[in-house]
């Protein structure tokens, strides 16, 4: 509705050019000669930097040039100018100036090319122009050719070498050129030669690259701020301009008074410095101009450049309306595509609804609801916040209040737009930074809830990479119908279950969801019917109850039948679960650990449900349901399986504590013996090394061999210790259950807690840095033993000795530094990739084209396969097809 009006003008092209001194004077509202800003009474000084003719910043005041005020009429501000006493070089153009000097004659201003060469280059340029080819290479060639000649082919003057002394001074065969001399030289260059120097002769003259007049930006560009103390604080640009004017004045006075050349030159240099820093305060080779506090000034170039600059911060990135941000917290009762939005936020955010004959009654009701105040503050009653009416082309925006609600509702007519508050079922975009992949922003269905946090299902934590230690997330409301449709089809959580990274589910059961299923299905047993019904009710099960079995005179239901209620009827699978022990000969159905999963026609016949069944990345059941029954079914399955397993785990109870890592004394003894053996082995290795008896491995020095052998022994020592500990912990241990089912943690974590932490490493080697010839003063110099080089024999439960603790911290620090370095580096890499790829798209015919129509790839990914819809990166799952054919599906 708004769109038609917004495109009235289109930018055809943009031309960058130079401002001539005359142009600068012409657009100037006033000459600036006083370095001061305000007088003692606080009024701006005429012909000062805050002259009212340059525009106004205080509301209410009128601009002396255009007579407009700052607020409503919008006086845009007007430029002023400073007449420079002596010309000064513009830093941004120094390279072009150098090139002009190098390729022209100082005497006659002609190009240092013979007429024949000139003619040739003109032809090439004309040809490139008609072919729309890049001419930079030709321009470089022209300069190269000109520099070669040692005599001007036109007047015979011998050429001299022009050197650039960064940042702003030029030398002609060793002798310094003043900006005035450079200007005179540039003036001599004929118009007809300009195109060969990459200068547009219609819009620019080379001598304009030397400043004789400096434009003074309007005050609106550099507003001064009044502090609470009543003191005025000026903008950095104003400070810099004060410096420029002051030095300019002194230079003028000194020169007019006939001061010695040396003093004039010094002042000239100083003026050059101030103008250079005014343009760019990060010019290499000169110290940056600083504020009184020592902070470098933010001058013109700094306003535009970099992440905080105008382009990246204000033009590419903007702040938006209809968005909210708050802390997140978990809610296992919500579906994965739902989002709990606090009432407070829901009341503030609105969605526009056009009033038509069909919905006018509903709209009126909506507005009237504003007057009714619910008795319970936790009750939410959506209403309307604004009514927008269009009368005779004028937009009228009426705020709906408790008082005027009835009135506004009565006067409501079709064609108006009401801005109604957020309601259950609205679609909204939810996002967590850093937004590294497309799953960082997904569409959720809103559910308005009490309290102050956003709430969502725990299964959607991995795609957002969110946790609840204080993370905040953003919500964006969809305002138009097209956007809504697009979000519905492309962005909903269920559409993003499959990750384009590897063609598998990225959303699935996590942590307790897996533990719960594991607890429920690990042992093939029957549970009392009342408990079974409780678990089933959690999923909202509405079918026929599984057939009960009578045990001890009471009805029981088999746990597998409970889980089977979630499976579609046509599901048949056979695979090894996560808790598989990887026995040498797999016994399949007869697996003693119940780790072989068999599902036939939607009935779980055998096996334990764990990470390999319902987890993200690996969940076989989840994967199959999504492929065969679509994303919607996948969403439903995740919802139900998580609800069921949460119900199960709360019923059965599950806890892990420090005594889960307790192992019997007998086991401790075994571990100690194992470690002692390993230490002995290391001692003998070191002994052998010291007696030169060690045989080096191929391609390694003796020292390297020793290190490798020791690393091998320490690694094995930790593994055996872990194995012993693991053997004594058993599958009834909660920590082991979590590790084996894939819910959280690994057996390595457990063995470090109750067995032995193992060798610590920095840069992949045993720890060797520290004091001279030793790591810590606790050891003898040259000690190569295990404990002197970072082997931690203790376990976390027992506690580390001081030296072990130190080594452990060294290893830990390296890990932290690595992650810090990795994130910053990968962030920059991603930025460059995005900048390179942002305007590519896959066309309907499978080609990848640039926005300009250029073909990048003739077939997306060369095979035209959407990785999100692929099966682990492959277009088809050949094994699945063969097995389906065998079974005659």
């Amino acid at each position: 509705m708004e769109r038609a009006r917004s495109i009235t003008k289109k930018i055809g092209n943009i031309n960058f050019s130079l401002l001539s001194p005359n142009e600068i004077r012409k657009m100037s509202a006033t000459k600036v000669i006083t370095a001061d800003t305000y007088d003692d009474d606080g009024f701006p000084i005429a012909m000062g930097l805050m002259d009212p003719r340059l525009g106004v910043i205080e509301p209410g005041l009128r601009c002396k040039t255009c007579g407009l005020r700052v607020g409503k009429d919008k006086c845009p501000g007007h430029f002023g100018h400073i007449d420079l006493a002596m010309p000064v070089i513009h830093v941004g153009l120094i390279k072009s100036i150098r090139d002009c000097l190098r390729s022209t004659c100082r005497e006659c201003g002609k190009l240092l090319l013979t007429d024949k060469q000139r003619e040739e280059y003109c032809d090439i340029l004309k040809k490139y122009g008609t072919e729309h080819r890049d001419k930079t290479y030709v321009f470089k060639q022209i300069i190269k050719d000109s520099v070669k000649s040692d005599k001007c082919p036109h007047c015979g003057r011998e050429t001299s070498k022009i050197e650039l002394d960064k940042p702003t001074s030029l030398r002609e065969s060793g002798k310094k050129l003043t900006p005035s001399e450079v200007r005179e030289w540039l003036e001599k260059i004929q118009d007809e030669n300009l195109p060969l120097l990459d200068i547009n002769k219609r819009t620019a003259r080379p001598e304009w690259m030397i400043l004789t007049v400096l434009p003074v930006p309007p005050v609106t560009v550099r507003p001064s701020v009044t502090l609470q103390s009543g003191e005025r604080s000026e903008d950095d640009l104003t400070h810099k301009l004060v410096d420029v004017i002051r030095i300019n004045q002194r230079l003028q006075e000194n020169r007019d008074a006939g001061a010695p050349q040396l003093i004039v030159e010094d002042l000239w240099e100083l003026l050059q410095y101030h103008i250079t820093t005014y343009l760019d305060n990060q010019t290499s080779g000169i110290p940056p101009a600083r504020h009184r506090s020592g902070r470098p000034l933010k001058t013109l170039a700094q306003r535009l450049k970099g992440k905080e600059g105008r382009f990246r911060s204000n033009l590419s990135g903007k702040r938006v309306n209809f968005s909210a941000r708050t802390v997140i917290s978990p809610d296992p009762n919500l579906s994965i595509n739902e989002l709990g939005v606090p009432i407070q936020i829901a009341k503030e955010l609105t969605i526009p609804v056009r009033v038509t004959v069909h919905n006018i009654d509903w709209c009126k009701e909506m507005i009237e609801k504003k007057a009714t105040i619910p008795s319970d503050p936790n009750e939410y009653c959506p209403s309307a916040n604004y009514v927008i009416r269009e009368m005779e082309g004028m937009k009228q925006r009426i705020k709906v209040t408790e008082r005027n609600a009835k009135d506004v509702a009565e006067r409501l007519e079709t064609g108006a737009i009401i801005e109604r508050q957020l309601m259950d079922g609205d679609l909204a975009l939810f996002n967590r930074q850093p937004s590294l992949h497309r799953m960082s922003m997904m569409a959720h269905r809103v559910r308005v809830v009490p309290h102050k946090t956003f709430r969502f299902n725990l299964s959607v934590c991995p795609p957002y990479n969110a946790d609840f230690d204080g993370d905040e997330m953003n919500l964006h409301l969809i305002q138009g119908e097209e956007a809504k449709a697009e979000a519905e089809i492309l962005m909903k959580v269920q559409e993003n279950i499959l990750s384009p990274r590897f063609g598998g589910a990225i959303i699935g059961g996590i942590h307790d969801h897996i533990s719960g299923c594991f607890l429920l299905t690990q042992k093939d047993r029957n549970i009392p019917i009342d408990i079974a019904i409780h678990i089933l009710s959690a999923t909202g099960f509405k079918g026929k109850l599984p057939i009960p079995v009578i045990e001890n005179g009471k009805s029981h239901i088999n746990v597998k039948d409970i889980f089977s209620t979630l499976l579609p009827d046509d599901l048949s699978l056979e695979y090894k679960s996560k808790s598989c022990f990887n026995c040498e000969t797999c016994e399949g159905v007869k697996c003693p650990h119940n780790a072989y999963v068999i599902i036939k026609n939607g009935v779980l016949k055998h096996g334990t449900i764990d990470e390999n069944s319902i987890g993200a990345f690996k969940g076989r059941i989840l994967d199959r349901i999504i492929r065969d029954h679509g994303m919607g079914a996948g969403r439903e399955f995740i919802d139900n399986v998580t609800r069921m397993s949460i119900a199960a785990i709360t019923l059965f109870g599950f806890t892990t504590s420090i005594d889960d890592e307790d192992i019997p004394d007998e086991a401790k003894k075994q571990i100690e013996e194992g470690l002692a053996k390993a230490l002995k082995k290391i001692r003998s290795l070191v002994h052998a090394y010291e007696n030169d008896e060690l045989e080096s491995l191929p391609g390694r020095s003796i020292e390297e061999t020793l290190e490798m052998e020791i690393m091998k022994v320490t690694g094995k020592a930790r593994d055996t210790a872990g194995e012993i500990a693991g053997r004594h912990l058993g599958l009834n241990n909660s920590a082991v259950m979590m590790a084996k089912s894939g819910a959280r943690g690994s057996m390595l974590n457990l063995s470090q807690m109750s067995g032995c932490v193992g060798q610590q490493a920095v840069r992949g080697e045993r720890i060797h840095r520290g004091y001279q010839y030793r790591t810590l003063p606790h050891f003898k110099k040259g000690d190569l033993g295990a404990s002197a080089k970072g082997f931690v024999a203790s376990c976390y439960k027992k506690g580390l000795t001081p030296t072990e603790y130190f080594f452990h911290s060294m290893g830990g620090r390296e890990g932290l530094v690595d992650t810090a370095v990795r994130t910053s580096r990968s962030g920059y890499m991603q930025r460059r990739l995005i900048n390179a790829l942002e305007d590519l798209r896959v066309e309907r015919d499978g080609t990848v084209k640039h926005s300009g129509g250029q073909i990048i790839q003739f077939m997306y990914g060369e095979d035209g396969v959407d990785p999100a819809r692929s099966i682990g990166g492959k277009a088809i799952d050949i094994n699945r097809i063969i097995s389906d054919i065998k079974e005659g599906v």
Partner: protein, 87 residues
């Protein structure tokens, strides 16, 4: 060290890492433009100074068909427009 003034001649086209380049005929050209609905400028470019282009002797304005080995599709076909190099 012995310096040979003669250029070491080596057929780069026989190298394993150089994909197959073929100059396509005018008829094939027309078909190509029709198939992808594009103008010649929209094709990826290749300089006539490129060793492969020199080796097969393609001239600016001609189009080469390139058949590469591909991880995803076994064989991938691409086309490039030969253009005049700046040098």
């Amino acid at each position: 060290m012995v310096k040979t003034s003669e250029k070491q001649s080596f057929d780069i086209m026989s190298h394993d890492l150089v994909p197959l380049h073929i100059i396509i005929s005018d008829k094939e050209k027309k078909e190509l433009f029709e198939k992808y609905n594009i103008a010649p400028e929209n094709l990826p470019k290749i300089f006539d100074s490129d060793p492969v282009i020199k080796s097969i002797g393609a001239k600016p304005g001609q189009i080469t068909k390139i058949v590469r080995k591909s991880h995803t599709a076994k064989e991938a076909v691409a086309y490039r427009l030969v253009i005049e190099s700046n040098e």
